[in-house]
Symmetry: C2
Subunit: 236 residues, 2 copies
Amino acid sequence: MDHHACSHHDHTSHHHIVGCVSLVPIFNHLPVEQMNEIRQVVQSISFQKGELMYRAGDRSDSLYIVNKGKMKIYRLSESGKEQLIRILQPGDFTGELALFRQGIHEAYAEAMENSQICQIKSEDLQPLLLKYPSISLKILSEFANRLDSAEKQTANVATEKVETRIAMFLVECLEQDQSASNIIELPMSKKDLASYLGTTPETLSRRLREFEDAGYIEQKGQREMKIIDPDKLLLI
Amino acid sequence: MDHHACSHHDHTSHHHIVGCVSLVPIFNHLPVEQMNEIRQVVQSISFQKGELMYRAGDRSDSLYIVNKGKMKIYRLSESGKEQLIRILQPGDFTGELALFRQGIHEAYAEAMENSQICQIKSEDLQPLLLKYPSISLKILSEFANRLDSAEKQTANVATEKVETRIAMFLVECLEQDQSASNIIELPMSKKDLASYLGTTPETLSRRLREFEDAGYIEQKGQREMKIIDPDKLLLI
DNA sequence: CGCGGGGTTGAACATTCTCAAGAACTGTGG
DNA sequence: CCACAGTTCTTGAGAATGTTCAACCCCGCG
């Protein structure tokens, strides 16, 4: 639970920035001249596994876009329990709040592996949003999706029991990966998954074993499992 | 639990529309000529208490802005349990998903009292967003707030116990109303509140009684209560 | 004045968490 | 390639928390 100090290594070389911006879905539909304008305000920073990009209480004044690696966003409850909000893959972003209301972060952002991030200061982005509405639309669209999944997640945690939440999560994974073999790889450790689903590692472990005993799944190693009977899972 | 059929009474008279648009925070910062453009695509519809504006499964193709009254948005879990997502007051809107990805509603929108709503078809709004970036920014800002509170709510339900969630909710109410007398009025029935907080009316009732016995609050009637000791509540 | 919906209360029951111990896995350095 | 250290994961048993169901109350409203 002890996190390393956060060290920003600024690599503002042209090479990095080009790589960064061109990978970002928010921008990569733009014509060349607009891209250049954006490049001027983007900073590339990197984090090593375990480093914190920001923590609760920090002033929030930038948009961060993941270029390489994985970041996890989580909150700490009063009681010190960690709740994983979401995992950022390349192309995902965070810090959106900063753009519209000055504020402080209420969550932590931690690198799950060595990661490279594009940072845009709020004050630099605002004018771009007004000038190029299509950027706003992209962000708006992303927000709509996130809002939807956040509300779905709340409803699940509030009304379904743990068993059901786990089953639904597994089926979702299956749908996303859609590998013909019905084998999925968990996007995070079981510890983190428990936190994401609002339960404990112990309970998660027990329920997975029950699924296995019932013949719905087959666990292989720590992160892989074969979904044998998705339909039965959804009926739980 | 049986909802009346949804009947749209279209009042497209000039009078209504003017009243509607001018009340909406998303638009009311705009100059006159833009307002006129918006008026042409806005429809005013009204609902009586208990009517459904949309239900899960309906095609989602409009933005709805509450002009008068109150709407509640809730989901139904597999098991038939209702989870209240949020309550729309005048100025609040819903249907955002429709704007960016075609889709179907996964929630229900029901009038809690006789209400008047402004409807804008997705296809009509899109061009306006591109033309007037400031509208996007307004919506973006609203989204950011909602996203934040949705994630906070998820984290609460996932990590805090019912007792704590209730206490936090009461204190939030107090902060919003900030009446000097420390008397708050619940924004919804206790039944709905239980659903919002992810618990049952029975548990809510019991915990409130405990708070009362401990001298933290004092209930008066069904919706009013006096918060005697907010600090103690937050320590729970 | 009776009806109906919220609201409250009680007791049994179900679910989940906690704590503690041991097992399995991962990555590292020899 | 192996041994080791540090995790993460699993399993058990008991305790805490919350739900369910059923009965009753209360209050506003026709």
